[in-house]
């Protein structure tokens, strides 16, 4: 027999074949040995502009061949056009240690500990990222790997990805007995040495007398630094390196806190997590439960986890049970024995107030639960056991493991009380607390040398770790956003907090726009490919109705009588899918942004403004591409037929709601356009009634509107509740109709992959609380068996003396419901498609493609369904499901961001008013007296909703005006008042009685109950604190009953 062994001697190429062998274990615990080939080569460039050698054999991509000549395939090496440009500068920046300039070769741990540093613009330039490091980083942390990739792709920082494992000279074979870590470290040193020699050689060849940059290894591995020094390669730890840079104070703060190596462990505060295998078996066996950890907005010590096994959420009480979970994490919990079950808290507990005086530096003597926290908790327990009223005790649980941390970057500010006064001017490193803006996130301990600078600033921080020996999570500063209350910083903080992409559109996205720019027009010649399969609807009397000042006009309407007495009604939607092609950079960007975000004075667009406000926008008097839905409708609003087509339209007029209303009401106008609007209005009323009869809900959420740019008038006068005109509902009805019609059309064609929107029926237990409250307080019944019965019973919830009562109940009912969501048709069974709030069996979003990505997807699907285009790229269900997930997330965040921005403006308006009044009247309490409604009653306060401003706020005991008081409580007296007040809370009757210590007589105490109307004073105050800077909040004082 012949030997079949691989013969390496025969081919010259084979000398360069190496192999990489590694072992990995799979999820199921199997161990696999993997062998990969490696082809070592010498044409991988060093990418330094100093180098003259590498340029001649730099890699060429397939385009170097020439697209049209691919059949002949002759590689043309001289075609330098397709050579990847060299990245590393020929004059790299120097530091004190390396005056001649240097290139940086970071080790993996440098990226793990200081990714924020590398992302800092201008801090690190000319970085050589090694393949070895990239691969190791990917194994250790996928998010960091993605961030590094993004860095490599941007040009300005000059990061070069060097595939050292494939270059013959820098390839390192693992030695026997050598650990993989040592091998990787050796690989890094080898690269540094090679680069140095290579650049020497290159400069000798080039005869240029330029200084050759030093190659500096950055690693936090002491052993590696030592070996590098032995081999005469410059190496520094990340700390030492950064210390040598300008601006080092700022940069040093960004180094990851957790990895600095604290030495010996202190006392361990928290129990250890269960092992992964124990968690997995437990979850499978049903003894442990997995869910998302949420902190109550009213009580930072009370968390809850919703799991499928229990219909009520599991309560996680106290820090100890929370065991280092942060709101949003996916955790595994163990249910506590029944005798420890409790009812949810009826007390407002604020972290800031309870733990105000803790010292961030000293850790030795503190327990996890401080005495004060313990006291707060114990009172709870007593109460829960004391009575067994309507609230049966909830199951409680303790966190035993974390499946996934959902940490993000948080916006917050340094707690002024935690900085030491000595270091106000000094640069000494100190540990301080940061209070995140989000109340659900615990304080974060950071180490900084710039505590004095950071005071009074909004800062962005990252959580690095939460060790067992630390009461609070440790983090580091990413950057400062600017002064408190400066508009820029606050708005940016808000956008960051809700993860809204607000950076300007990158060039690749703008490159996707039509080259004609604003001069783009519908081609005049009907033979143009743009007209293919488009219907000419320019003769229809189309108009648009939108809020005043609307620039991105998504939709327009028309109606005209047909000879048979019916009407032709058309809804025309901007044809965004004509401009945004699937898969290009603009499409990717839009799908990531998901939606346009509307703030009070700012709009963060999903699409570049050229499209959103011009080319797509259905502006009047210009021809535009549209996607039209045309129905034949009887005068009784019965739909005879529906037709979908791409079209060209010419809008006759762009009305605001008010203008449209005036035009309709003006009986002297009898032109065709006005007539068609009257027809539309009539039909919309019939449609609305039909929908209501079917059980659509009329829900309410506090919506107010702020008009800016009025210097003279009182800003508060500009806070308006949104007015509703009949024309609002006209547009809304037809949009709903269009959405529903399109949904069923697309679903017929793509039963698995249609993008739909649904609103799940809320489980009846969600309404339990509200319905008992109504029963007790007003003797009203809430029937939640169907949306129809709920709508009817909501209609009955009225109080003749209190006209706002109905709206209040609707707001509360809305909060009990699940939120609507996008989904992919294959993900649910057909009966689950139902949109509960609209009482429609199927629903989607079609009518606002300029500002919502979902609509754009539906446009593409509908175009495919009517045979206008092919269904390319729409057929993958998994991809669509990812899109839906992202859209739901973005959609929710956009809503939150919008609300937060309104809240901020109301605060600013109140502040401006307070300041103006202060000028006139001197000291005192300045606010606006308004009506408010009690939304919730706690043991030590109430939550009041003020409809005028659409805000709700907690009112603590010290903020009540008692019958005896003549002066309104001032901010300064609060602390003292808080100690003197006493209260009595009746959980069954939802009442709270407040009195002064020692005067519990009914005449000198004030009593408040749920749903009651109260008079309040709303003002914006600075939170009192020892140092000057504090955070502003809206303060509500209850003056008495209204």
């Amino acid at each position: 027999m012949k030997s079949l062994r691989r013969d390496f001697s025969s081919s010259p190429q084979s000398a360069n074949v190496s192999s990489k062998v590694f072992v990995r274990s799979t999820k199921s615990g199997k161990v696999q040995k993997i062998v990969r080939e490696l082809y070592l080569r010498q044409d991988i460039p060093c990418s330094s502009k100093l180098c003259s050698i590498c340029y001649s054999h730099a890699p060429v991509d397939a385009d170097g061949v020439g697209k049209d000549a691919k059949n002949t395939l002759v590689v043309n090496n001289a075609d330098l056009q397709s050579v990847v440009p060299f990245i590393l500068s020929d004059r790299p920046a120097g530091t004190k240690a390396f005056p001649g300039g240097h290139y940086i070769v970071p080790d993996t741990n440098a990226f793990l500990n200081g990714m924020d540093l590398f992302e800092q613009p201008g801090a690190f330039r000319d970085v050589i990222v090694l393949q070895t490091v990239l691969e190791e980083l990917k194994n250790q942390s996928l998010p960091l790997y993605n961030r590094l990739l993004a860095l490599i792709k941007t040009d300005e920082n000059r990061f070069y990805l060097f595939f050292n494992e494939f270059r013959l000279e820098t390839h390192v074979r693992r030695r026997p007995e050598e650990t993989i870590n040592d091998r990787n470290d050796r690989a890094i040193r080898t690269v540094a040495k090679w680069y140095r020699e290579h650049l020497h050689q290159a400069s000798r060849n080039g005869k240029m007398e330029k200084a050759i940059p030093a190659i500096v290894i950055i690693t936090d591995d002491k052993e590696n630094i030592r070996k590098a020094r032995e081999e005469n390669v410059p190496a520094l730890s990340l700390l030492d390196y950064v210390a040598g840079l300008e601006d080092s104070d700022k940069l040093l703060d960004m180094i990851n806190e957790s990895k600095e190596g604290k030495g010996q462990r202190g006392e361990l505060f928290y129990p250890e997590y269960y092992s992964m295998s124990k968690i997995l078996t437990g979850v499978r066996a049903g003894t442990l439960h997995q869910g998302t950890f949420n902190i109550s907005p009213y009580n930072y010590l009370e968390g809850s986890v919703s799991v499928s096994a229990f219909d009520k959420p599991l309560l996680v009480l106290g820090r100890n049970n929370g065991n280092r979970a942060i709101s949003g994490d996916i955790v595994v919990v163990e249910v506590l024995p029944k005798d420890q079950w409790k009812s949810p808290s009826s007390k407002i507990v604020d972290e800031e107030a309870v733990t105000r005086n803790e010292n961030p530096e000293v850790e030795d003597h503190e327990a996890v639960v401080t005495e004060r926290e313990q006291k707060a908790l114990q009172e709870e327990v007593k109460k829960a056991h004391g009575k067994n009223a309507e609230g049966k005790p909830h199951p409680t649980a303790t966190v035993v493991g974390i499946v996934k941390r959902n940490w993000r970057q948080y916006v917050g500010h340094v707690d002024p009380a935690s900085t030491s006064s000595l270091t106000k001017t000094g640069r000494r490193q100190q540990t301080v607390f940061v209070l995140p803006m989000d109340k659900k996130i615990p304080k974060i301990r950071i180490t900084t040398r710039r505590a004095a600078d950071l005071l009074g600033q909004r800062i962005l921080i990252t959580v690095d770790a939460w060790e067992r020996d630390s009461r609070y999570p440790a983090g580091h500063v990413v950057r400062s956003l600017g002064e408190f209350e400066s508009k820029g910083a606050e708005i940016e903080a808000l956008l960051l907090e809700y993860n809204v992409q607000y950076k300007p559109f990158p060039k690749v996205v703008l490159d996707c726009l039509p080259s004609e720019g604003h001069n783009w027009a519908v081609p005049a010649n009907k033979q143009d490919p743009g007209w293919k399969d488009r219907r000419d609807l320019r003769d229809r009397l189309i108009c648009s109705i939108d809020p005043p000042g609307c620039q991105d006009i998504d939709d327009a309407l028309h109606a005209r009588p047909l000879p048979n007495g019916n009407f032709e009604v058309g809804v025309h939607i901007a044809d965004v899918s004509h401009f945004v092609r699937p898969g290009n950079a603009m499409d990717t960007e839009a799908s990531m942004r998901g939606t346009t975000v509307y703030l009070v004075d700012k709009r963060i667009d999903m699409l570049p403004p050229l499209l959103g406000t011009d080319l797509c926008s259905l502006k009047p008097h210009v021809e535009r591409y549209a996607f039209s839905t045309i129905w034949e409708i009887t005068p009784n609003a019965e739909i005879i037929s529906a037709d979908f087509t791409k079209s060209v339209i010419l809008s006759r007029e762009a009305f605001s709601y008010e203008q449209a209303q005036l035009r309709i009401d003006d009986s002297t106008k009898t032109d065709d356009l006005t007539q068609s609007m009257r027809t539309l209005l009539h039909l919309s009323k019939v449609l609305h009634q039909k929908r209501m009869d079917a059980g659509a809900l009329n829900l309410a959420s506090p919506e107010i509107k702020i008009e800016t740019e009025s210097e003279l008038s009182d800003p508060l006068m500009d806070v308006k509740t949104k007015a509703l005109l009949a024309t609002n509902s006209l547009v809304e009805e037809f949009m709903l109709l269009a959405n529903i019609t399109v949904a069923s059309k697309v679903y017929d064609s793509f039963p698995q992959t249609t993008l739909l929107r649904r609103h799940a029926s809320p489980p009846p237990q969600n309404f339990e609380g509200l319905s008992t409250q109504l029963q007790k307080k007003r003797d009203l019944k809430l029937d939640v068996s169907s949306s129809k019965s709920l709508a009817d019973s909501l209609d009955r919830c009225t109080d003749p003396k209190n006209p706002f009562f109905n709206t209040l109940i609707r707001i509360l009912a809305t909060r009990c419901m699940t939120s609507a969501e996008y989904f992919c048709a294959g993900a649910h069974a057909e009966p689950e498609f139902r949109h509960y709030g609209l009482a429609s069996p199927i629903y989607t979003h079609f009518t606002s493609p300029i500002r919502r990505y979902a609509d754009l997807v539906v446009h593409r699907q509908l175009a495919a369904a009517i045979g206008f285009s092919t269904a390319d790229g729409l057929s993958r269900r998994s991809k669509l499901e990812d899109i839906c997930k992202n859209l739901n997330y973005r959609h929710r965040n956009a809503q939150f961001a919008g609300r937060a921005s309104i809240e901020y403006y109301v605060g600013q308006a109140l502040k401006a008013r307070g300041e103006r009044l202060a000028k006139h009247d001197g000291d005192g309490n300045f606010g606006v007296d308004e009506e408010g409604y009690v939304m919730r009653v706690f043991e030590n306060g109430i939550v009041v909703f003020v409809p005028r401003f659409g805000i709700e706020g907690i009112v603590r005991l010290e903020d009540f005006m008692l019958p005896g008081d003549t002066v309104r409580p001032t901010t300064d007296a609060r602390k003292e008042l808080a100690l003197r007040r006493d209260s009595d809370f009746d959980a069954e009757e939802y009442t709270l009685r407040v009195w002064e210590n020692g005067h519990p007589e009914p005449e000198s105490s004030a009593m408040f109950e749920l749903f009651e109307r109260v008079r309040v004073n709303v003002s914006s105050v600075k939170e009192e604190s020892v140092r000057a800077v504090g955070k502003r909040r809206v303060r509500i004082i209850v003056l008495g009953k209204a």
């Binding site: 079949l4 990847v84 792709k153």
Partner: protein, 272 residues
């Protein structure tokens, strides 16, 4: 998690095993490795290793009528239990992958060989995959071609297979202006698992006469085209062009192998 081609290739123009877009893996082959058979070969493309033996043309088994029009080609593919990363206990079973391979190979060679010369007979090809690291069909075609040449079965030309794909998911139409995707030649297993690719097999008829082999592009024909995973149709042409070029390179190597072995069988005067 190891790196993946679709993210790192655009940055470095290097594939995960250090190759450029148009490079084949190391291809080595021998023929006449098993003297007990009519023809045999051993071929490795990278870490994919295949052994192939041919028996016949021989009389069909008794009881079977046989095909009067020509020989019947039978292909049996056996993927060794140790060929992949996971060792399979039950080796040689009729799993989906091997039956798919054998069907493709059978129909390929049934139409490629001059079977009309051997009516009522059977040509049976036995393919053993010793190690699987991507491009299995292409490697199997090449191994079979060598073994059939060794067995002396007439064919119009060498049938060579090669795989080619794109360096990204290629699910949307090709954009000729800013095309970020490159075609890649000769896929390895990790690339196959990540990216769309196709396998193409081409045959060039050997011109008779004194010149011997004349490589005439016009006469080249595609005998096999097998698409794996979905890619947008606008990319097919690119992939095909690169694949056909790969086939040409492979043909040269295979010719070298065949001629090299001839030397040993018929030693030239210089060697004596």
């Amino acid at each position: 998690m190891p790196l993946d081609t679709s993210t790192t290739y655009p940055l470095t123009r290097l594939r995960l095993d250090g190759r450029r877009w148009n490079e084949l893996r190391l291809l080595q082959a021998q023929i006449s490795t098993n003297s007990a058979s009519s023809g045999s070969s051993y071929l490795s493309m990278g870490n994919t290793a295949i052994m192939c033996t041919v028996h016949g043309p021989a009389e069909g088994r008794r009881g079977e009528a046989g095909n009067a029009a020509g020989a019947v080609v039978e292909v049996d593919v056996n993927i060794a239990g140790f060929a992949g990363v996971d060792r399979k206990r039950k080796a040689g079973g009729n799993d989906r992958q091997s039956s798919q391979l054998s069907n493709s190979l059978r129909s390929t060679f049934q139409s490629h060989l001059h079977t009309y010369l051997y009516p009522h007979s059977t040509i049976s090809i036995q393919v053993s995959i010793l190690s699987a690291d991507g491009s299995l069909l292409a490697a199997a075609i090449n191994a079979c071609t060598l073994a059939l040449v060794d067995a002396g079965i007439p064919m119009p030309g060498l049938l060579c297979g090669c795989s080619a794909g794109m360096s990204g998911s290629a699910s949307t139409p090709q954009d000729s202006k800013n095309d970020s995707l490159d075609p890649l030649l000769d896929f390895s297993l990790p690339e196959e698992q990540e990216l769309p690719f196709l396998t193409v097999g081409t045959a060039t008829p050997i011109a008779g006469g004194q010149d011997g082999m004349v490589d005439d592009v016009d006469d080249m024909k595609i005998s096999v085209l097998h698409m794996e995973r979905t890619a947008h149709s606008s990319y097919i042409e690119t992939m095909l062009a690169v694949g056909i070029d790969g086939c040409k390179q492979i043909r040269e190597i295979l010719e070298g192998v065949i001629k090299g072995s001839n030397k040993i069988i018929f030693p030239s005067r210089d060697d004596l």
